[in-house]
């Protein structure tokens, strides 16, 4: 099985990682169907 994107699911967690890793956030609003 190949690699997949490991998504954060909470904004707080994404922001904490973004600041620690000095990266931008890709926020994807999607329709889970």
């Amino acid at each position: 099985m190949g690699k997949t994107i490991i998504w954060e699911t909470k904004m707080d967690g994404a922001l904490a990682r973004a600041k620690t890793e000095n990266k931008h956030i890709l926020l994807d609003f999607f329709n889970p169907g």
């Binding site: 994107i5 954060e8 609003f29 999607f30």
Partner: protein, 150 residues
Amino acid sequence: MDAVTYPDEKVIAFIEKNMIPLRVAFDSQPLAAEFSLKWTPTLITLDPDGKEHQRTVGFLPSEELIPSLLLGIAKSHYDREKFSEALTILDQILKEAPKSDSAPEAIYLKGVCGYKSTHKPKPLKDAYEELQARHPSSEWTKRAYPYRLL
């Protein structure tokens, strides 16, 4: 996006290296309201403080997603007046994805960053000439039209 773009190895590698991926349902509150969400997929580039710098609505294939995300990062640097960092990213777009839909805007923004960092008009005129040569029918060529006179 799930069927085609996100499984692409180049997309996975790019996002893993360059971004923090955050995925939420379209009806997830309060985020959907805070970002005035109207349609999916909506992809938004946020800086590390959570401020929005770019959004796209609708499907993007992998060859368009990566330059689009790079453009979002470049806009973030531009908005925060980090012109050198923005220029580095814009050059990357034009080197790696010169035929992408993001390329014309990257050329335009490169001209603006060049002007703002040097206070000389040449980068703006250069941007117009490059747009006219490579993307004559682009909206960004029209927007740069006045710069031909500089």
